[in-house]
């Protein structure tokens, strides 16, 4: 067992819980469809990463490729539909960004990182990438705690405040940066395969 990856997995998990608590996600995670939608893109990305794992077993490889192809198509349709819905129901791109995109995409990226971290527990990993993800997760968790520490922070009007230029806006801006950080971590993970 890779202990470093285990720490990474636990931190990503805490990060995800903290994020869901801070942005007060009004998503029912007991609903199988929601879980499927949130996991669709991450599962596709993880399967794409491990696409050559069964190259010695041709039958498995063929089945794997077919499933992967279906998942890629489903993900594409889903992403396009989501983008269309968000853009269609928002008056401008900034509102679209704040209304759902930043929240949804961040959760999807976290899910991807969580799945990668889970499979990493059982294999050798890149040390630099592990350290990078651990640092990013620690900073994100500390920032989420910082949000709770703001006096008078009110989650119900959190979304409205994201659009105004006040001291609270930095809280939501952070989530855009968290998203960028995690995407960078995933790119780093992809290009530094062990």
């Amino acid at each position: 067992m890779n202990k470093r990856s285990l720490i990474k997995f636990i931190l990503v998990l805490i990060n995800m819980i903290a994020t869901l608590l801070v942005i007060k996600a009004e998503i029912s995670f007991t609903d199988p469809l929601t879980i499927l939608l949130f996991s669709l893109v991450p599962i596709t990305l993880v399967m794409f990463y491990y696409r050559k794992s069964f190259k010695n077993y041709k039958k498995f490889q063929f089945a794997y490729d077919v499933i992967l192809m279906i998942l890629i198509l489903a993900s594409l349709i889903f992403v396009l539909y989501f983008a269309f819905t968000v853009l269609n129901f928002s008056t401008n791109i900034i509102e679209a960004e704040y209304s759902g995109l930043y929240f949804f995409t961040y959760i999807v990226v976290l899910m991807t990182l969580l799945l990668f971290s889970f499979f990493d527990i059982f294999k050798k990993t890149n040390k630099k990438n592990d350290i990078l993800v651990i640092i990013i997760c620690l900073v994100t968790i500390l920032m989420s705690l910082r949000v709770y520490m703001i006096p008078g922070f009110n989650q119900d009007i959190f979304v409205y405040y994201t659009l105004s230029n006040n001291i609270y806006s930095y809280v939501s801006e952070f989530y855009v940066y968290f998203f960028i950080l995690n995407v960078l971590a995933i790119i780093h993970y992809y290009i530094n395969k062990v």
Partner: protein
């Protein structure tokens, strides 16, 4: 050919890694800067002058009137009377007054807290509307008083907007301009008091409640 391809790949990988590390570092520096900035503004103090709202005797009068309503049903039916008692409360106004009337120094974060404490104006408006709907059944003339109730509500709303502007522009305010605006916290509490007072007086009038 293979070697050059691999070498090129390695170089690209190295450069991308560098870019990623630089971007992550830059974002972390930005985080540190924003946190320091927010810490500074959250702990900045603002003084207010001319705070003459320290008179709590007005609340005794309101308290007495509410007690009169609680002890006398007047001509209200049991159902309406229980609804009136449910909506009738002065505790939150008194609580806000006790908290903010004697304050002369505000931290930025306290202005935020005050705003969130006073933010429930939608509830107040709804509450007033529901009670007035009941009162009109007993005395139709009461509908004229709804106008003054809403004028207090508008003033209360404007006071909150002033505070909201103060919160929205934390980096552009200074002690001179903000001291007057911070007084709006007391103003909002006062208008909330006037709203409750108007409502209580109308309940007494419409229900023919006597001591």
């Amino acid at each position: 050919m293979n070697y050059s391809k691999e070498s090129f790949k390695y170089k690209i990988k190295k450069e991308v890694n560098k870019i990623i590390i630089v971007l992550v570092t830059l974002i972390f520096i930005f985080f540190a800067f924003v946190n320091v900035k927010s810490y500074y503004y959250l702990n900045k103090t603002y003084k207010i002058s001319g705070n003459d709202y320290n008179n709590f005797s007005r609340f005794d009068e309101l308290k007495n009137n509410i007690n009169i309503i609680k002890n006398n049903q007047g001509k209200y039916s049991n159902e309406d009377y229980s609804l009136i008692l449910e909506y009738l409360s002065y505790e939150d106004v008194l609580k806000d007054a006790e908290k903010y009337f004697n304050k002369n120094n505000y931290f930025y974060k306290e202005i935020n807290s005050a705003y969130f404490d006073l933010y429930n104006y939608y509830d107040i408006a709804k509450k007033g509307e529901k009670v007035y709907k009941l009162l009109v059944k007993y005395d139709y003339n009461i509908i004229d008083n709804l106008n003054s109730y809403y004028s207090f509500y508008d003033s209360y709303n404007s006071s909150l907007n002033i505070i909201r502007n103060l919160i929205d522009n934390p980096y552009h305010i200074n002690n001179g301009t903000s001291s007057y605006n911070i007084l709006s916290i007391n103003g909002a509490i006062a208008f909330k008091y006037f709203m409750v007072k108007a409502l209580v007086n109308d309940i007494i009038e419409a229900g023919d409640i006597n001591e």
